[in-house]
Point group: C2
Chain length 249, copies 2
């Protein structure tokens, strides 16, 4: 159920670039090039295959469209890691998601402070504007690689001492909630878009500044749908994909 993305050019001119793309894809598949490796320059491969460098660039574009490589100006064509799938169902837990695919999820708190709640955040939490909120930042990793960084908002009155609880729970929201007797919660909404990473995000996620990030703004709620938690997450696009299966729950 996860087709990759083949054949983004058709027609008679397709043979040479396709052959090169297939050869490179096979080399990546077989581990000759590993995630993070830079492929040889177009001019080098053009010589090797006896084609024009534009043909090699077309092969690179095809591999990029398949998600196999990232073509970035000034740093060549890099082999992508396989993206980690992240199911966006009714229940969303990073660690549980990773555990199911045999990866070890970990996270750590970056900061925690009390802020006067912004009107829009408060509205989404069904609170009066200016209500004191925890604003906590965390970083999530899979097998030690940073996947995403998130900013969380929760009501101080509902979650007293959350800074310590969240830190002691190793920045797991699911674990922290249990300390407040919340054994179950549901994802009420997620908004997703893409934008370039800021420098701070790039440093945290160990990606290039300006690399594409998948940005998510999510509202979690009690099983009765009362909103309790908002999280704005920024995921490395090259490492993560969100999976939405309305019939999968």
């Amino acid at each position: 159920m996860t087709p990759s993305l083949p054949d983004n050019q058709g027609g008679d001119g397709g043979t040479a670039w396709r052959r090169i793309a297939d050869a490179l894809a096979a080399s990546i598949e077989q581990g000759e090039y590993e995630p993070g490796d830079t492929l040889p320059a177009a001019i080098v491969l053009a010589e090797q295959y006896g084609v024009h460098r534009h043909t090699v660039r077309q092969a690179f574009r095809h591999l990029a469209e398949q998600g196999l490589v990232t073509v970035a100006r000034g740093r060549g064509t890099q082999v992508s890691s396989r993206r980690v799938p992240y199911p966006l169902g009714r229940r969303v837990s990073m660690r549980a998601n990773l555990g199911r695919i045999g990866m070890i999820g970990s996270s750590r708190m970056l900061s925690a402070e009390v802020v006067a709640g912004d009107p829009e955040i408060c509205e989404a939490l069904a609170l009066e504007p200016g209500t004191p909120l925890w604003r906590c930042e965390g970083l999530s990793l899979a097998d030690g690689t940073p996947m995403g960084t998130g900013t969380h908002w929760l009501a101080v009155a509902r979650f007293p001492g959350f800074d310590k609880v969240y830190r002691d729970a190793e920045a797991s929201i699911t674990a922290a909630f249990k300390a407040y007797g919340i054994l179950d919660y549901v994802r009420r909404s997620t908004r997703l878009t893409a934008r370039p990473a800021t420098e701070r995000e790039a440093a945290l996620l160990r990606i290039e500044p300006g690399a594409a990030v998948l940005v998510s703004l999510a509202v979690d709620a009690l099983p009765d749908l009362t909103p309790i938690h908002i999280v704005n997450s920024v995921f490395a696009g090259e490492r993560m994909e969100m999976v939405v299966e309305p019939f999968g729950d």
Copy 2:
């Protein structure tokens, strides 16, 4: 239910950049700067507000995190359009989605050809590898602005003459399906990630090459969940956001 993303820096040093960010946000809100406009350079605003240019850059970063501007190397800080929300429910139709928020959706066919189906695409369509498939490309616009471009795959045997039907339906999959007696279909799965736009995508979407695109790979099915259509879409991150509400259907 759509909080924007406030206050990504706290502490004592926050006052000056916050004031500038708020002033710029207000100017954007009031239409003094319009989508696509470039904000004055940091050094200019620094002079104007009597602060260090790093303070202005912090304000820019905050606006970028809110999605109000896009900070791109070498082309300054541009005011973003408001992102068009695109609900990813059980039924997904671009035009219907846009119509609900008062925008006019349109689309056009870019290409249509028959290809031997790639093994992974065929598997997702529950077909034998190599089955003849339509491979059609379309471009979708909202109020005349390109939002996304998609590559569609469908079985030739199930959809004879799809090239003409799809073109006559003005590249609306929903309308084209009706010509084959399919009055209802459902979104079975969507995978979403972010990556930089290729040059071709950038040209089609009228965004900068390398700008962040939201990439979706979706499987549509008959109401009995038999897969019939795969579409790989590339949306301008600066213009679109996907909305997932598991309890909203």
